[in-house]
Amino acid sequence: MMQSFLKAVHIYWYMVEASIRAQMQYRYAFVMNIVGWMMHYTGMGITIWVLLYSFQTLEGWVFWELIFLFALSVLSWSISIIFFFHFRTLDQYIVKGTFDRFLVRPIHPFFHFMAMKFDIGAIGQLLFSILAFILAYSKLSLHWSFWKWTVFSGALLGGALIQGGIMVLISAIAFWTTRSERVFWVIMFPLRNLINYPLSIFPRAIQMVITFILPFAFVNYLPSLLLLNKTDSIFPPFWGSLSLLVGIIFFWLSLQVWLKGVNKYNSTGS
């Protein structure tokens, strides 16, 4: 068991290397992609700045606090897309019937599909969010204790697992309906925009969905409450320290759905 797992990890990294080499073949496209993402997120940051210019605060959150919230979500997002961004295209493999090859190789289909791409284009998002984070940290004059840095790391890992989990979950829809890419854009794009703003501005029902069903609240809002010493009328700040736990549980559940989907695919036989 352990040995086969180690072997899978070994093959995974071997394929990652190949994927990186493949992406580096198109240098110009690679660089433009990074520049593009940095522009995209900088644009979103500027939009938040313009929005706050005449109003100063949004439910007690000032500009740099909002940037902190934003940077935290992009930071964990950029970690998760390195591994899982291509999962949204699973429907193409199923429609074309090319998914079969993931089932006949001596590596677990999930690992194999995951190894299809190691998205180094995520560097753009990563650079942007690190920069935004450093700026927000210094503008807000934060001085974190060891405990807070632990919470922060938990939020990063947990956030990456939650968002990766959602990508895995959405891709699994393709096993039953042969659609995933469209669903991905319709769900992920608005939701990721939504969490750039404090959850407390939205109605209670939405807050519950985003906390308990698709746990995006644990990606940035709840950890930010704790890390920025803010309060919320519903959620106690210590919930922000649970991100990693929620991430592990949510990812595990998503993975189970995906594996169920693989079994379903086996039986279609077309």
Binding site: M32, M38, G43, V50, V186, N193, Y197, I201
Partner: protein
């Protein structure tokens, strides 16, 4: 150079066909509505949150801004039903654009009329019923007179055409730049911020507002939206429409110029 070829009927046929096509692919339309409503919802609550404890900001009340955001989302919904930019870029990259060029019609016009068809379908089946219900239920600010309605519709049409010309021109740049990654993001950012799609220009810092007034993008959403909610009224409307019209002429000329150059510069990938 500009060849309508006296054949409006042919172009209208493209509208009719794409209307039918849109009717056949209803799933796409529902997904688009869902996305549109989520964003409407999000911006509605953001503005509500911003206005907490404030009566009016920069002389504008929450009700006015909320109506502005609604009409803006509605127009954006209509714009999104047209041919997406990546579709044009893909045609250029794969070389399929050639089949458009050898046919006896003008591609930019054909595409415009085809978009009219799919937008008409989307408008009738989704946007009109949805937004009528919202406006009536929430008792929001709407134009008070038929004249104001007409001016709004005219301004919205000008805005649509400006966006169409700019976006198609940008799409045609693919003839020269195979990879448009970074430039594309700047372009989209400029459209989304300076058009006033999400944040009305009233709330911009002074210098940014001035800059925005000198760009073509404000004619896309800001001018029609402002007419709709009555922030732009009386004697101010005419100059605003004039500026919109001027930008339409300029962006149309740029489009024609780029298109004529593009037609002479076919580099098909791998060919």
């Amino acid at each position: 150079m500009i060849s309508l070829k006296g054949n409006l009927r042919m172009y209208l046929e493209f509208s009719r066909k794409s209307f039918q096509r849109a009717a056949a692919y209803r799933f796409e339309a529902w997904m688009r509505v869902l996305s549109n409503v989520i964003f409407l919802f999000m911006w509605g609550f953001i503005w509500y949150g911003l206005y907490q404890g404030k009566e009016s900001v920069s002389g504008v009340t929450f009700q006015t801004v909320f109506s502005y955001i609604l009409i803006s989302q509605m127009l954006q919904g209509l714009h999104s039903a047209g041919t997406p930019l990546w579709d044009i870029q893909e045609k250029v990259r794969t070389g399929d654009i050639v089949s458009e060029m050898i046919r006896p019609y003008d591609y930019p016009f054909r595409l415009l009329f085809a978009d009219f068809g799919s937008i008409a379908f989307y408008f009738i089946t989704a946007i009109l019923p949805l937004y009528s219900v919202i406006f009536i239920l929430l008792k929001l600010v709407i134009p008070a007179s038929p004249g104001q309605w007409l001016l709004f519709l005219f301004s919205a049409l000008l805005g649509y055409l400006i966006r169409y010309c700019l976006e198609l021109t940008f799409g045609l740049f693919t003839f020269w730049l195979v990879e448009t990654g970074g430039v594309e993001d700047i372009f989209y950012f400029a459209i989304s911020l300076f058009s006033g799609a999400m944040i009305p220009l009233w709330f911009f810092p002074g210098w940014l507002n001035t800059l925005a007034r000198f760009l073509p993008f404000q004619g896309i959403f800001f001018v029609p939206n402002s007419i709709f909610v009555g922030q732009l009224s009386g004697k101010e409307i005419l100059p605003a429409l004039g500026v919109q019209f001027l930008w339409l002429v300029i962006s149309f000329l740029i489009l024609r110029f780029v298109w004529s150059r593009a037609a002479n510069k076919i580099i098909v990938q791998g060919g």
